[in-house]
Symmetry: C2
Subunit: 343 residues, 2 copies
């Protein structure tokens, strides 16, 4: 480490005690304006940097935000979700952008259980945490007596209402994606999704899909609801399943762009083209959508801004000292590109 200016050096320079400096830094008003002035000048001239470790002990604040990912790919290298879906790069970059401006640092980690998360919060004396991706309910049960500000993203489950949430309008997105296909003349529209369950992001997007079908008088066909993992390989499997179906589908709504890419790839590998043979709409608008030809029609959620909103939410909670149970719902938007054909 470089030669470090200590509080003692500043004290010597200013001709005061270390305790006096500590009082000034911690805004304990027991010093005269003149002394304060002298100390601030000494700090500037010696180049003293307040060590967060020391400040953390004296003020109980670390200016650290934990950003926690679920760990996936159990096997040789159980790694964080950041690795698998570019969605999380954009999200994390948005968090980092706001944190840096507000003088917080972000700690990035993969966490498997709520207990682990609690231990980590205590060990690092975190000011707040942002949870990315989906965590099981047991996770939150283990976290329930944690009084720290917590921001959840994309969580619909019952327990999640007790947290500060950042969401996008998933139901509306599912509706818009499906309606776009219906308006283009499609009626046999498959949905490619993660496990739908009874709540959560997939469920909501599915609800939107159902609403659009319903509005158009198209009966729900359970044979063309395909549930798989929400990643490229899951999409690839769905693409192959769809090609084997007896049902004559002409379009697919994929609940994530990354799934849509897998589907398109499977189609192409068997000589089927998008949008000539099948129309496809995704969800997210990750950057890769524009790399493909045709570019993917999708539902945009502004991922970088969602990251920014998450960081703002946690910092507001930390600085106000009030843990908020509020839901911020960000809008979605249909981005029409080349992957949908008019019938």
């Amino acid at each position: 480490m470089n030669v470090k200016v200590t509080m003692r050096d500043v004290a010597r320079y200013a001709g005061v005690s270390v305790a006096t400096i500590s009082n000034v830094l911690n805004n304990v008003s027991k010093v005269s304006d003149d002394t304060r002035e002298r100390i601030l000048k000494a700090i500037e001239e010696t180049g003293y940097k307040l060590d967060y470790t020391a400040r953390c002990l004296s003020m109980g604040k670390s200016n650290l935000i934990g950003v926690m990912f679920p760990i996936t790919e159990k096997g040789d290298e159980p790694s964080i979700l950041l690795r698998n879906n570019p969605f999380y790069s954009e999200f994390t970059s948005g968090i980092e952008y706001v944190a840096r401006k507000e003088e917080y640092d972000i700690l990035l980690t993969g966490i498997e259980s709520g207990q682990e998360c609690r231990d980590w919060i205590a060990r690092r004396n975190l000011d707040g945490i942002i949870l990315l991706g989906i965590h099981p309910e047991s996770f939150f049960n283990e976290m329930k007596d944690v009084k720290l500000p917590i921001v959840l993203t994309d969580a619909y489950e019952e327990y999640s209402t007790k947290f500060h949430r950042i969401m996008v309008d998933d139901e509306m997105g599912g509706y818009m994606a499906t309606k776009n296909l219906i308006d283009s003349g499609h009626r046999n529209i498959a949905i490619a999704t993660g496990r739908i369950g009874t709540n959560g992001v997939n469920f909501k997007r599915f609800e939107g899909y159902k609403r659009a079908l319903d509005e158009a008088g198209i009966p729900l066909n359970t044979k063309i609801i395909i549930e798989e993992h929400v990643n490229f390989d899951g999409g690839y499997r769905i693409g192959n399943i769809l090609l084997e179906l007896d049902e004559k589908i002409t379009a697919v709504f994929a609940v994530a762009d990354i799934v849509a890419f897998g589907i398109i790839k499977a189609f192409k590998s068997r000589g089927k083209l998008v949008p000539d043979d099948y129309s496809v709409v995704g969800f997210d608008d990750i950057k890769i959508c524009e790399y493909l030809t045709p570019e993917l029609t999708t539902i945009r959620q502004d991922i970088f801004r969602k990251g920014m909103a998450s960081a703002k939410a946690i910092i507001d909670d930390i600085e106000s000292g009030v843990v908020t149970h509020e839901t911020i719902m960000l809008p979605v938007e249909l981005i029409s590109r080349g992957s949908v054909r008019k019938l």
Copy 2:
């Protein structure tokens, strides 16, 4: 925060003083085995978690590794490189994987100057840092009296030999990519690259390109050396430039996959197909290579493993207390897919 077991609670439970516990935790051998035993049992039974803040002050070790990105896209949202190239998601995930196993945490941040970086190291009491992406030489001048372990990735400049470096064999990669095209019958092979300069990753890949041409007796044609930003938009611009050239090229070596995607996109937007009209080879093997049709032929550097190697290097340096000036050179491999056509 959850009700926290303090060192005082452990002391009460074990029937010893706080100072005695501190001695045990810091391996100061002034206590009997019996007392040590009793304290360790008390720690276990009370569920006491060693607060890193306290340990950091007592032991001077934070178990924190800073992972620093250059900030790009000057403008409204100057954000970290993580946002722009999926390369960095895989890299960061590799670092996180090893750090988690070794009980380190990673702090992620965007840093513009060496001075900022120094301040940050001091403020956070970091144990070591990993610098991702390219930083200007001035950055390192400002860092030169920092005695902390530092790992650089992909740095060739003169100053970088004073650091622990993780590299891939860029020259060999450039050679293999170009030779693959030559072996397929191509002779007019453009190179799409960032600023070549006189050193660095682009320079080395360019050196490999030249060696392969030279070996095949193909003269270097400076009109088909195109320098642009190393991102999708840069590649897109290069694609358009290549289509306007009088030179009759049949193939392109792009020094990064993300650049190759931009080139392919520009080609397609003007009705030119890969590999029918042009063959393209990339570099990196990011996951997206497989999403495209045809899949991209590229030079694989195992990015996740490179992240792992970076984390291992910094942790070795931290724990040995020896700052290493060593270079770890990881191999590259040609991955033949569908973007190269035999002439």
